[in-house]
């Protein structure tokens, strides 16, 4: 059978040392995605480095500026039910609770959620061509069953949609990913953390092999108290989104003062459009404004045979979510 060594790291330095020593090692925390992929033979690590023993990385700390520092090992459930998360960033709590199942959320960590793999039907299927799994082999999703695939940020090599819920919220909130590695600590803007496929769809994260995530910083954003997450899917639970919306809205009278808007499952990465947000800022908070922003959001979208509906669905969802937030803000 395919064997691997399990290394229990007690410190970040030990984990980094183990990663450095083993070029085909993987970190494991909750394992809710990695273990599945190992069973499928998509991930074939020689070493698993168990980081559950790393101290101090499993809590959520409220920052004085209204922000949060979320430890990489905090469970999805712990974050979702944390009162500061629920009060300051309801979109985050709602996004997590819309994902997976209770059992999975209890096991899954926040760091792991950032690193979860796509769920394109062809990715974990060895008989299919997939440039993420086997670079250069081709992409069977292009002309295959691509209803779940992305319409934004795609390339000729990959159209897999990013599957995470909470990452959509984190993208909207301009989170910062704190990592450490051989060359020390660094902070990565969330916008840069997930990579579009381009010519190298197998390169998915701004994260070196020797680096591990320590935490996710969510900067203070007072108006995010008026935020929400909407997930549209084929069944009510345990299904990936067809389209999801993470949005926050601040009004000044009848005018949009500030806004955040990210859309999930339409992009190869959690998607945000500065132009769409700019079109709303300073504009009257009306359905027309929101619809115009939605149109801008999807400029340049490239639908395939099965997933064109996502564009119209997302546009309607954007308008309705913004209308809902507007009512709550008044």
């Amino acid at each position: 059978m395919r064997e691997f060594a399990l290394i229990r790291a007690e410190t970040a330095d030990a984990a980094i040392a183990a990663l450095t020593a083993h070029p085909n090692a993987r970190l494991i925390a909750g394992g809710t995605n990695l273990v599945d992929l190992m069973k499928e033979g998509v991930e074939t690590p020689t070493h698993l480095i168990d980081i559950n023993g790393l101290g101090g990385l499993d809590d959520v700390q409220a920052r004085g500026n209204g922000g949060l520092m979320i430890g990489a090992l905090a469970s999805n459930s712990a974050v979702a039910w944390h009162s500061d998360v629920q009060v300051r960033f309801p979109m985050m709590s709602e996004a997590i609770l819309a994902g997976a199942t209770t059992q999975l959320r209890n096991m899954a960590t926040m760091g792991g959620n950032l690193l979860q793999k796509n769920r394109c039907f062809y990715y974990a299927n060895h008989a299919a061509r997939c440039n993420k799994r086997a670079p250069g082999s081709g992409c069977d999703a292009m002309d295959g069953v691509n209803r779940m695939c992305a319409v934004l940020g795609t390339s000729d090599h990959c159209i897999a949609a990013h599957p995470s819920d909470v990452c959509v919220a984190l993208r909207a909130l301009d989170a910062v990913v704190h990592v450490t590695g051989v060359n020390g600590h660094r902070a990565i803007d969330f916008a840069d953390f997930h990579k579009r496929p381009g010519d190298t769809p197998h390169v998915e994260f701004e994260l070196a092999h020797d680096e591990l995530i320590l935490g996710i910083e969510v900067p203070g954003l007072p108006f995010a108290a008026n935020s929400t997450y909407l997930k549209l899917r084929d069944r009510t639970s345990y299904a990936f989104a067809l389209v999801s919306i993470a949005a926050a809205l601040k009004l000044e009278g009848d005018t949009v003062d500030d806004v955040r808007l990210a859309v999930g499952s339409v992009g190869t990465v959690p998607w945000r459009s500065a132009d769409a947000e700019d079109a709303m800022r300073g504009a009257p908070a009306t359905a027309e404004t929101f619809a115009k922003a939605a149109d801008i959001f999807f400029e340049g979208a490239i639908p395939r045979a099965g997933n064109g509906f996502k564009i119209e669905l997302a546009k309607r969802a954007i308008v309705r979510v913004m209308e809902t937030l507007k009512e709550r803000a008044i």
């Binding site: 008989a127 069944r235 345990y238 299904a239 119209e312």
Partner: protein, 744 residues
Amino acid sequence: MNLESKVIGKPVSRVDGRLKTTGTAQYSADQRPSEDRPMHAVLVKSGIPSGRITGFDLSAVQGMDGFVRFLSHLDGALIRSIKNPADGSFAAGEEYTPFESDRVDFVGQHIGLVVARALETAEAAAKAVVVKYEASTARIAFDSPDAEVRQPILYNTGEELQVSRGDVDAALAKATHTVQATYTTPIEHHNPIEPSATLAVWDGDHVTVYDATQGSVNDKNYVAFGMSLDPENVRVLNPFIGGGFGCKGFTWPHSLIAAAAARVLDAPVLLVLSRKDMYTSCGHRPYTEQEVTLAADTDGVLTATRHLTDSYRSPVGDHVEPCGLTTAMLYRCDNLEVAHNVRVLNRPSGTPLRSPGEAPGTFALESAMDELAEKLGMDPVELRRRNHTDIDQRNGRKWSSKHLLDCYDRGAERIGWARRRAPGTWREGKDLVGLGMATACYPGYRTPTQTRLTLDRDGTLHVAVAVQDIGTGLYTVLAQMVADRFRTSPDTVRVLIGDSDLPPGPLAGGSMTTASVAAAVDDACRVLSETLRARLVKIGKTLGNEPLVVDGGALRTGALSVPMTELIPTGSPAIAAEGGTNDIYGFAGGVETDKSFYSFGAIFAEVRIDRDYGIIRVPKMTGVFDVGRVINAKTARSQMLGGMTFGIGMALMEETFIDDKTGRFVNPSLGEYYVPVNADVHELDVEMLDIPDYDFNPFGARGLGEISNVGASAAIANAVYNATGIRVRHLPIRLDDLLEGLPR
């Protein structure tokens, strides 16, 4: 008969409930009958859809620690050449002999078996076997131009698949109102929670097979044939089955492969199919295209009906999805044509899946009826009433017991049918609301069944029959039937099933087990009663005509009460009786009768559809069923809830995608093949008319496992139309089917 029974019809809790809820029920893969730990086997499956195997490269496998053996067609004749026998002594899922030749007909076909000491080794080795092929042209796409097309004559029940009466074309030419449309249903899989599993243990020339099968007797006969044994030398045990829905009905190659491997290795071999294996190893419901044409006069009376079904089969599996059989019998219509075409494609084999034919067939027929009602400007229930008949349209026989009109009435009342409005006009908040309905029906089947009853000294009744409880509640139902006949509590009855050594009973399929055992149990109870009366007389008792009562430690009749210890003296064996019936109903070769036997029902659905997003919810479904006498109100209702939930899945979620280039299923996992979750299932409202059908068997029960799934998808599709004005003629119906046309 015994309508005042203290146990029949009561909501008796499952006698095996504790075993199941505490995890102590032993399923096939759990069994460890001997000290010898079983070897673990994993299938090697074809990666190409058509061609031949030119060799296996085992170099990566042979050095694996714990690897034991690789078996394939290169190992000589491990299994006797099989074709399904004309005498019906067994039914295999596929008409080919595993490991007989180098030929490959579909992706996933079993071409080799790895056996190892540990499951992990076997899995790794199975992946490491390199198969060399010579590929040949495969016909995978449904519209493959050169695929052979067959017109099969008979379904496996003996029912005619090509039916014609009257003159459809002439009637159509004269018709004032017609509907013609094509409906499609997707590939669907059974997805029982327990995968198929076989543990084979040999003892000399005798093999015991612990098999997750819906038919221990069928399994026994198939394994015996394949292993060249007398059937007495095969024992199949299946005390608990974790769902089947048809994929464990006929016996599939893996059962024989496991038995052959255990014989070759002279060691117990356990073969548990993976979830992925389950998608290609034991059937699926094939994709269907159905063209339905209906014509009616201005009163809504049908003047012509045509139902043409196009489906497919694998080169080695002869399943036909018999979508038009319902159409041929249900509504009064003198001009009718029902036809079934089957293309031969290089796809895995199909097999019955809960209500084969009826479920996809009524989606088409009952959608078309809804379209016709719309054209006529007539209430859909009224249209069905106007075409109601007391005569089976296929054979001119009267139904034994049909109360379908009552089902319509009760269902309409329970769902609040009067609330229904014109299509696309009922709005509540952001929702579009709609109501839809469909007729449900399913044949009454019975097959020969024998039963052994035993009364022992402590007053316990034992009932033994080679049937199986696939989760439906049969253990409990059997206990109730016996208890009823001896006026005792089900607690005093021990049920022995799930063992092919017991008196033979039917396969758990076609909703026929309860009706079949009902007749056999009744007969065995009669024989035991006569035996007991004779015994009482023999020991000097004077009897009246009052019924016998097993009352704890005594046998009572009238004023007489005889202690069991007197009836069965110390050292005497328990009193046994055998009874049964060889009668067949619903299948070819059945009993001569002037009646037709069917269950009927009416399904109503309310949907609420988000008018921006098109997301469909089903806040309420009502099913009213005429299924004969209900033996157990609780397990029967549970079956109906399951079937209606099945219907929600079929209507809104379930679909297996196939890649037309490679012949592979694209989403073979429970994460990617959606079935409803709890949050998708809201109020399921079930009523059973509970009218006994004593023409069918002495307990008056017909089957009810399948009918609750029939019509459900059409009821939901019709409700979607009523809510939105959008007619979706394919399943499943998803939000993207509605998005563009929603009346916002």
